[in-house]
Symmetry: C2
Subunit: 176 residues, 2 copies
DNA sequence: AGCGATTAGATCGTGTGCGATCTAATTAGG
DNA sequence: CCTAATTAGATCGCACACGATCTAATCGCT
């Protein structure tokens, strides 16, 4: 495959030689089995679980024209008259550099409404549009359905949520 | 802020009206406090924890010129002579559409070496380059340091890793 | 009132993720 | 052998994330 020439890849260095360099340090990087390089790395397990969640939700939300993040925004808006971009950011742990393009796409799709606050023209208030309210109702049961489909006790899953919330809070403290 | 006119934002619909639409369904979307719309959503807690991990690692890895994903690739390569793109994908739960550009950037940065397998020209073998072996040694202790900095018992964190691995496996089963 | 500092969003560039599609290399079946 | 199917990567377009920077609106201080 590859186009034309099979992608040159200049032989800068032989592979075994590189591995030897590491071995020369006298200490393996991780004690895991060759097939599982991320033993003792909770960060990786969270990363992998998030990937898996995202893929599953993508399947379930795509028929409704939503991405996972767009779904989260709709859920966050479903409980309030409206939220400012900053408030959405607090709830979703995101900044305006992520939210502004996202909200513009959602507005273009008719899911939300953006409007400048009349008291403070710096503030943008975001609210559900009718299509957004409709679709958030359609996908309301998705999270519970997903968890129900897993072969794991619901009590364990609840405990895991508490633990993840705690972990996230601790990590945010540390990041300072 | 904003350029010229304060971003028109055509008033397609009033916000309260949208919220009313949802309330009319007779059932709140989630029973949580207004400030915490994601009660009972483990997916969100995992998402938020992953964001927090990623931000913290970004801080710690940036001085070494690594992103989090690049770091994972280096760790995966540190245990083997080399790995094919497909093998890396199995370990990292990623496909070639993500790995190929990533590996090309890492090769350009001198972190890894890519080479066509001589037996099967379809296969690309990836190995640590000297700079990659050097930097993976420098950041070897980062994961443990991060966890140590948290105000949580190490035993709890180990249990969480087991639980996350299980959750990821279950989600991947469900996704079909 | 006037002006520097602060604040809320927006913009830009880079790096993931991923669905869809493409190509070249290998394999399978007649 | 020769072609169809399979396989391993690569490419493309779009949607997050985020550091860095910008602008407009508001606030604070004199």
């Amino acid at each position: 495959m590859e186009n034309q020439t099979p992608d040159p890849i200049e032989p800068t260095l032989s592979g075994p030689q590189a591995a030897a360099l590491l071995a020369a340090r006298g200490q393996a990087v991780a004690p895991g089995v060759p097939g599982q390089p991320f033993a003792n790395m909770l960060c990786f397990s969270v990363y992998a679980a998030q990937l898996a969640f995202n893929r599953l939700y993508k399947q379930l939300l795509a028929p409704h024209g939503l991405t996972y993040l767009q779904y989260l925004v709709l859920v966050a808006l479903a409980q309030a008259q409206d939220r400012t971009v900053g408030e959405l950011g607090e709830v979703l742990f995101l900044e305006s550099n992520t939210l502004t393009p996202l909200l513009k796409r959602m507005e273009a799709a008719g899911l939300v409404v953006r409007r400048r606050d009349t008291q403070d023209e710096r503030v943008v208030r975001v609210a559900l549009a009718p299509a957004g309210a409709k679709v958030v109702g359609e996908v309301e049961c998705v999270p519970l359905d997903v968890l129900s489909a897993l072969d794991m006790p619901m009590g364990d899953l609840q405990q895991m949520k508490v633990a993840m919330d705690r972990l996230g809070a601790e990590l945010r403290k540390t990041g300072g």
